[in-house]
């Protein structure tokens, strides 16, 4: 199954992808479009991706989980295109023999995905402005060092 999808994410196919008789626990993380970002009201956003690299980096992350050999299987999907507040943007479904490994794998995959997978979002604010989200800029506090797209 492709990691990136333009269609609404459905959980059942992801669960079916990882469920197995010897896996007694499934942990699920869903990332939803939030109605605010750094104090500003958000109406929706546009996700874009570098498709082939997003697919291969995500598979690398899943391989890292599989290499631990604890019987964990993980399925991931990420939306691209226009989303509105409350839409599911990303789903991580981790199945394992016991719950601890499922929770751990779920957490690992979403954190690594956010850190490494080439996906970007452009937020539409209630005041009509549109801005690319830059996680590295949000760590900067002084207004002088903010980029040209933060004005």
């Amino acid at each position: 199954m492709a990691i990136l999808t333009e269609q609404p994410i459905r959980l059942d196919p992801l669960i079916d992808q990882v469920r197995a008789p010897d896996r007694g626990g499934i942990a699920i993380f869903l990332g939803l479009v939030r109605d605010h970002h750094q104090g500003r009201a958000v109406l929706g956003l546009d996700y874009s991706a570098y498709g082939p690299m997003a697919e291969s980096v995500t598979r690398e992350i899943l391989d890292e989980v599989a290499a631990r050999g604890s019987g964990v299987a993980v399925a991931v999907q990420h939306r691209v295109g226009a989303l509105t507040v409350g839409d599911v943007a990303v789903a991580v479904v981790a199945a394992s023999p016991h719950r601890a490994e499922a929770f751990e794998a779920c957490r690992y995959v979403i954190e690594e995905l956010k850190r490494r997978v080439p996906v970007w979002k452009r937020e539409l604010y209630a005041d009509g402005t549109v801005e690319w989200v830059d996680p590295t800029a949000s760590r900067v506090t002084s207004p002088e060092s903010r980029g040209p797209h933060d004005v």
């Binding site: 874009s48 690299m53 990420h78 080439p118 970007w120 452009r122 690319w132 996680p135």
Partner: protein
């Protein structure tokens, strides 16, 4: 050494900044990622707004500044990722 040609991809905010999503670039061989980015800066005045060392990928894998590029490579310039 002959010149080499790479395919460039600009993603997300960088495509908007440069006004183009992709193009070909020919430069003298041998060349590194750093040489490619320098050539992009020379071609596009707006590239002055790129960070000093933007995140780059060669053939869909993250690359380092000194990594060599080969003819036909796809070299991508990536803004800081913001998925999830």
């Amino acid at each position: 050494m002959p010149d080499l040609t790479v395919r460039l991809r600009y993603l997300a905010r960088y495509a908007e900044l440069l006004g183009v999503e992709g193009e070909e670039l020919t430069l003298p061989a041998p060349a590194t990622i750093g040489d490619v980015v320098a050539a992009v800066r020379a071609r596009h005045p707006a590239a002055g707004q790129l960070p000093p060392k933007p995140l780059c990928a060669v053939n869909f894998r993250q690359a380092r500044w000194d990594d060599p590029v080969s003819a036909g490579d796809e070299v991508a310039l990536l803004p800081p990722v913001a998925g999830g």
